[in-house]
């Protein structure tokens, strides 16, 4: 459900070849025009104004391509689960862990069960999001002031944090990815570029130990 990176990769592997083929076709058509249909003495331009059958077949092809891409996109949406305001959200199975994320100018606060809360100083010491590896983590995302966006590029995951709204979504974290670019991606004022965070992925057992340690501390 929350494996956004794999879902994204699978979908991109459908879209990218289609895009490259279309680009190549346009390029080839223009190359033929430049080579074969250049004006030269004796060359008479065609007076034809339409080719209804060819155009009809072409339009049918466009509809099929658009339909196929859309169908794959819908499947991907179902895989990731739609990002939706909290109340409308239904996910099969109980969440094992819910982390609250509060964005504010220009900092993040992560809240865990048991009253555990982690934040940074909004300058050089970035807040660290500590998560368990390999299982779905549910997030509840909101903002205290303006619109921010919670972006973890390594997971191909981004959701807006808006005051007065809570967005709920699931993510799965793999160890070994480059999480150093996680940040706010919606312009939110002067220190927008400083609104970063780091991600620390722990083995599930180590995470449970860490969380217990935080709760008692």
């Amino acid at each position: 459900m929350g494996d956004t990176r794999s879902t994204y990769g699978d979908l991109a592997r459908v879209y990218l070849p289609v895009a490259l083929v279309v680009f190549a076709l346009v390029g080839m058509a223009l190359a033929v025009v430049a080579l074969r249909f250049r004006a030269r003495p004796g060359r008479e331009p065609s007076s034809r104004m339409a080719a209804p059958r060819l155009e009809g077949a072409y339009i049918a092809l466009l509809v099929v391509v658009a339909g196929a891409l859309l169908w794959r996109s819908y499947e991907a949406i179902a895989d990731v689960g739609p990002v939706a305001p909290g109340a409308n959200r239904t996910i099969a199975g109980p969440p094992t862990l819910t982390i609250g994320v509060i964005a504010s100018q220009w900092n993040w606060r992560f809240t865990y069960p048991g009253g555990v809360s982690r934040t940074g100083d909004g300058r050089e010491r970035y807040p660290v999001l500590v998560v368990p590896a390999g299982r779905d983590v549910r997030f509840r995302l909101s903002s205290e002031d303006v619109v921010h966006a919670f972006w973890i590029p390594a997971l191909r995951a981004k959701y807006d944090a808006m005051p007065g709204y809570v967005n709920v979504f699931d993510l799965q974290f793999r160890p070994g990815l480059d999480y150093t670019t996680a940040r706010c991606s919606e312009f939110c004022g002067t220190y927008h570029d400083q609104m970063q965070f780091r991600v620390r992925v722990l083995a599930p057992a180590a995470f449970d130990t860490w969380l217990r340690g935080q709760a008692t501390a």
Binding site: T4, T7, Y8, Y15, A19, V22, V26, G27, A29, L30, V32, V33, F37, R38, A39, R40, P45, S46, S47, R48, M49, A50, A51, E55, Y58, I59, L62, V63, A66, L69, L70, A76, I77, P82, P85, D145, V146, V147, A149, W151, P153, A157, K158, Y159, D160, M162, G164, Y165, N167, F169, T180, C184, S185, E186, F187, G189, T190, Y191, H192, D193
Partner: protein
């Protein structure tokens, strides 16, 4: 002459006046872009402060959209539509005249924010609530920015009404709607979009202004709906007329009537309908829009866009294609805009958009549509109609240099930004950490932006040289004109036409040439004469 330029109600003068305003704002926005690219060439803040950077990207984006591309798109309609439909004047000439003054005035009001203590607008061109509200972005400069945009946008609506009325009420005898030239059809679709969607921006910015002064009307999601209900159709306002220019250039310089005219017109109307139904794809990450619906309406744009591409390429196919400068820009448009279009289909898919949204991928995407696409279409149009407007040709040699440098600079600037965005570089960052490894691609992009600047200087040289050249352009300057503007002298007289040929199709001048070749007697009925 200056007074005439400022106070004439001749649609041609009004359009040129708007073009002069836009040219100045274009230079200002370009300088802002160069300063930003210089700042981003390497990590650290070397050139501007963070506040300064926010002012620059806000003024660059809002100037390019509100003061350059939209007014130029509408200005081209204002100049060409009366000539293409064979009439003497635009409908509501004094209104159009007033609208062009609103453009200059509104632009000055937007830029006057630099004179205030807090600086001009600096909440991004889409000015999201609550960031754009007074507690977060205080100061008169931001208010001036909002007011300036309102003035210009009201002017755009007025201009669109005038052009649409001309298209519907002032066509020459014989010119049915399905005999409108292709460019005029794109103008018609553009006006429909402006009239339908621009009031939404007036509402959004009016409420923003009220909220900045004590009202509490907007919320983050409702503002975004109002804004993008304008913002997405605006993208097509900045696209359709340039497609029309490319289509006309392709037709004239290949010696063929535009191919698939009727299908093109239907596709254009479908395009118009879909484009006002697709705004929600700007809001996929908000969690407050039905993603599947907007994925559907956005992905469906493949069909009309695919048809338009097909018809333009098919017009060149089997033609006798002359590779003058306009045709080079047609090729540049077709090859580069398709990159913007394909990445547009990419971001129409919610799961793929999530990574691209608000990243440099999206910056690259819309610059491929607006700069590599629309701007190349505009240059195709400028080189094509320059002899019609001025009676003089632009230098072929300088034009080729301009084109070559612009292709190089455009791709060097914007291609690396796709990779930067995918790798995690968000837009609107004044600075990025060195450890990200983004320095090389950013430096390339910066070099590219200066190549663009050089290309534009070459264009200015071509303009200056043309102004010193003698008037040599014939009425049908390219010897292959299809539509009525090529019937009258270059430049046209103030009343546009001394006479009109019969209009029996969407390519009346082509019909005349064929008739002369085939030695067919002229059809019955006198030529329409207008004094």
């Amino acid at each position: 002459m200056i007074a005439a330029l400022l106070w004439s109600t001749d649609h041609k003068v009004v359009a040129l006046r708007s073009a002069v305003f836009s040219a100045f704002f274009f230079m200002a926005a370009g300088v802002a872009a160069l300063v930003m690219r210089t700042e981003l060439a390497e990590p650290g803040l070397q050139v501007v402060s963070r506040e300064g950077y926010a002012e620059l990207f806000t003024m660059h984006g809002s100037t390019m959209i509100f003061l350059v591309v939209i007014p130029v798109a509408l200005g081209a309609c204002l100049y060409l539509v009366p000539l293409q439909v064979g009439t003497t004047q635009i409908s509501g000439a004094r209104w159009a005249h007033g609208a062009s003054l609103l453009l200059g005035l509104g632009g000055l009001v937007m830029w006057s924010g630099w004179l205030t203590r807090e600086g001009p607008g600096r909440a991004g061109w889409y000015a999201y609530d609550p960031l754009a509200n007074a507690p977060e972005t205080p100061g008169n400069g931001m208010d001036l920015w909002v007011c300036g945009v309102l003035l210009v946008t009201v002017g755009s609506i007025v201009t669109a009404v005038c052009v649409l009325a001309t298209l519907l009420r002032r066509r020459a005898p014989g010119m049915t709607l399905l005999r409108l030239p292709v460019f005029s059809w794109t103008a018609l679709a553009t006006c429909l979009l402006v009239i339908f969607s621009f009031p939404s921006l007036v509402v959004a910015f009016g409420l923003l202004l009220a909220d900045r002064h004590g009202a509490h009307v907007l919320g983050p999601v409702s503002y975004q709906h109002l804004f993008w209900f304008y913002g997405h159709p605006a993208v097509y306002v900045m696209f359709f007329p340039f497609v029309g220019m490319v289509a006309e250039a392709a037709s004239i310089l290949s010696g063929r009537r535009f191919f698939g005219y009727r299908v093109f017109v239907i596709a254009l109307l479908g395009f118009t309908a879909l484009s006002i139904s697709a705004w929600g794809h700007h809001m996929f990450t908000t969690g407050s829009v039905p993603t599947k619906l907007f994925a559907l309406t956005s992905t469906a744009l493949i069909v009309p866009a695919g048809i338009e591409y097909f018809d333009i390429v098919a017009t060149l196919w089997n033609g006798a294609v002359r590779f003058g400068v306009p045709m080079l820009f047609v090729f540049g448009f077709l090859l580069q805009f398709v990159i913007g279009g394909l990445t547009g289909i990419w971001v129409a898919s919610p799961v793929l958009d999530v990574q691209a949204q608000d990243s440099y991928f999206v910056v690259a995407h819309f610059h491929y549509t607006l700069f590599a696409g629309s701007m190349f279409g505009l240059f195709a149009g400028i080189y094509l109609w320059w002899p019609k407007v001025t009676g003089r040709f632009l230098s072929e040699r300088l034009g080729r240099l301009h084109f070559g440098l612009l292709v190089l600079g455009t791709n060097l600037t914007f291609l690396p930004q796709f990779a930067l965005g995918q790798d995690g570089m968000a837009r609107r960052l004044a600075d990025y950490p060195r450890a990200t490894g983004w320095t090389t691609l950013n430096a390339l992009s910066t070099v590219g932006s200066f190549v663009i600047a050089v290309a534009l200087v070459v264009f200015v040289l071509a303009v200056v040289r043309s102004a010193l050249a003698p008037r040599t352009a014939a009425a049908d300057a390219w010897g292959g004109g299809m539509t009525l503007e090529w019937w009258t002298s270059s430049p046209p007289p103030p009343h546009n036409f001394d006479s009109l040929p019969p209009v029996r199709s969407y390519a009346p001048l082509y019909d005349l040439r064929r008739r002369e070749e085939d030695d067919v007697p002229a059809p019955e009925g006198p030529e329409v004469l207008r004094a």
